[in-house]
Amino acid sequence: MRNAGASWFTIIPAAVAVAPAPLQATVYMSVAQAQQAMFPGAKFADRSITFTDAQRKMIARASGTRDFARTQHIWDARNGGGRAGWFILDRVIGKHEYITYAVALTPEGVVKRVEILEYRETYGGEVRSPAWRQQFVGKHFGSQLKLGSDIKNISGATLSSRHITDGIRRLLATYELLLKNG
C-alpha cells in the first residue's frame, strides 16, 4: 500500500535547508575613519544627546519624521582654531537592515559631507556614490529636502533613498533645536 503522499512536513525542512544565512555586515567605513575623512586632524568631543520626550516631539514636528532613536550620537569636532563643526552618526531603516551613515555639519549647521558607513541592501548601492551624497552638501535647516524633487531617487532603492533623505532632514532639525546655541 502506498503512503499518504507528499506531506507539508517535507516542505518545511526543505525551506530550512535553503533558508538564507544571517547577513554579514558590510562596513565600508568605521566611525573613526569617517571622522578623520570629514574633519582631518580634528579632535572629537562626545556631545551625544539622550532626548527627552519633549525634545523628540519638537524634532519630529520640525522634521516630519517620527521614527528615530532616543539617543543621538554627536561629536564636537575641534581643531586649533576652535570648533570645526559637528559630526553626527545616525541610522535609518533600509528595506531589510539598518543603514548607518554620518553627516558632517559646519559650525553654522550647513551640511559639509555625507558618508555611508554600512549599507546591506540588495539594490541601491548608488547611495554611496559621491554624486548622490553631494546633493546634500550645502543644505541647512529650512532647505527643501524631498526625494524626487530635491534629491534624486535611486532605482530599486526608493525606500533607502527616502529614509536617508528624511534622516538628514531630521539631523538638521536636531542641530537647529539643540546644537545651534550650544
Binding site: 507528499a6 525551506a15 531589510h96 532605482s155 525606500l159
Partner: protein, 285 residues
C-alpha cells in the same frame, strides 16, 4: 469508451498594483514592488493543498520562475509549473502522481505608483498560461489569462505594510467528447472567478516581517447570463517573511475558515481544500 478532453480558455480582466523591487511579503497577496531595470530574480514556489470532505486529497504545486526588470516599472517573468497529486476515495477517481510537468506561464507587471515615493502603490498584472494538469489533479489542457490589480500602502515609516489584490478571471472551458465512433462533441462552459485578498505585515526585526493575510475566492458559472455564485471560500492565516541582501523567503498558512455550499459542515470542499501552505523563495542575481 469515451475520452474526454478538456480545453479551458481563461480570460481575466482587471487592473492595479504598485511596485519597487519584487519581494513578496505574503504567500498569496502580491505587493506592488517590481524589479529595477536590468535586475534579475529567480523564484521557487511550493504550495501544498490538502483535505476534502471524504477520502484523501493532497496536491503540491511547484513554480520555478525567472523575472527580469526591463524598465524600472515593467517586470516580465516566465515560469515552469510542476504538480504532485495523491487522490483516493473521491468521485473523480484515484490519482497518484509524485511529480509531473504541469505547464508554462508568463507574468507581466507594470508599476504605476510607488508606495515609497507616491504614498500609495499601484501595479497592474497580467498572467497568461498553459497547463496540462488541472488544479484538482485530473489531466486536461487549459489556457489561462489572469488579470490582477495590486495596491499597497505603507505605514509607520514603512515598518507596517498593507497590500490588497483584486483578481478578475473569466474562463471559457471547452470540453471535447470523443465518442467510440470518432465523432467529436464540443461544449463551452463559461466561468468567472473573483478573488479578493489582503495582507498586513509588520517588521518585527531587521529583515523579518510577521503578519497575516486573508482571501475570499468565488466562482460564477455561465456568468455572461447573469452573476450567480456557485461556490465561495474564505481563507485566513499567518505569514512570515525574511529578506536578506540576495535572498528572501515567505511562508504562509491558509486554512479555509468557511465557505459554501457546505453540505457536511461549514467549508466548501468541492472546489477548494481544507488548508493550504505556501513557501516562496527568491534569489536576486
Amino acid at each position: 469508451m469515451k475520452r474526454v478532453v478538456t480545453l479551458g480558455v481563461s480570460l481575466a480582466g482587471l487592473v492595479a498594483t504598485p511596485a519597487q523591487a519584487d519581494e513578496q511579503y505574503f504567500g498569496y497577496t502580491y505587493s506592488s514592488e517590481v524589479l529595477p531595470k536590468g535586475e534579475t530574480e529567480a523564484e521557487l514556489w511550493v504550495t501544498d493543498r490538502r483535505g476534502k470532505d471524504e477520502g484523501h486529497f493532497d496536491a503540491q504545486d511547484y513554480r520555478l520562475e525567472l523575472e527580469h526588470g526591463f524598465t524600472d516599472r515593467l517586470t516580465v517573468a516566465g515560469y515552469a509549473n510542476f504538480a504532485g497529486n495523491h487522490i483516493r476515495g473521491l468521485d473523480d477517481g484515484n490519482v497518484d502522481r509524485d511529480f509531473a510537468f504541469r505547464g508554462l506561464s508568463a507574468e507581466f507587471k507594470y508599476n504605476v505608483l510607488s508606495p515609497y515615493k507616491d504614498g500609495f502603490g499601484l501595479t497592474l498584472y497580467a498572467e497568461p498560461g498553459w497547463s496540462r494538469i488541472h488544479g484538482g489533479g485530473e489531466r486536461g489542457t487549459e489556457y489561462e489569462l489572469e488579470f490582477k490589480a495590486i495596491v499597497q500602502k505603507n505605514f509607520l515609516d514603512d515598518r507596517l505594510i498593507w497590500a490588497a489584490n483584486l483578481t478578475f478571471e473569466p474562463e471559457w472551458e471547452r470540453e471535447v467528447e470523443i465518442e467510440d465512433s470518432g465523432e467529436r462533441e464540443v461544449e463551452w462552459e463559461k466561468e468567472l472567478k473573483l478573488e479578493l485578498s489582503s495582507g498586513l505585515s509588520y517588521r518585527v526585526a531587521p529583515g523579518w516581517f510577521l503578519g497575516g493575510e486573508a482571501r475570499y475566492a468565488s466562482v460564477y458559472p455561465d456568468w455572461t447570463n447573469g452573476l450567480h455564485r456557485e461556490t465561495y471560500a474564505v481563507f485566513a492565516g499567518p505569514a512570515v517573511h525574511y529578506g536578506g541582501k540576495n535572498w528572501w523567503a515567505t511562508l504562509s498558512y491558509q486554512p479555509q475558515l468557511f465557505g459554501g455550499p457546505s453540505p457536511n459542515g461549514s467549508r466548501a470542499l468541492d472546489e477548494f481544500e481544507k488548508r493550504e501552505l505556501r513557501l516562496k523563495l527568491g534569489y536576486n542575481f
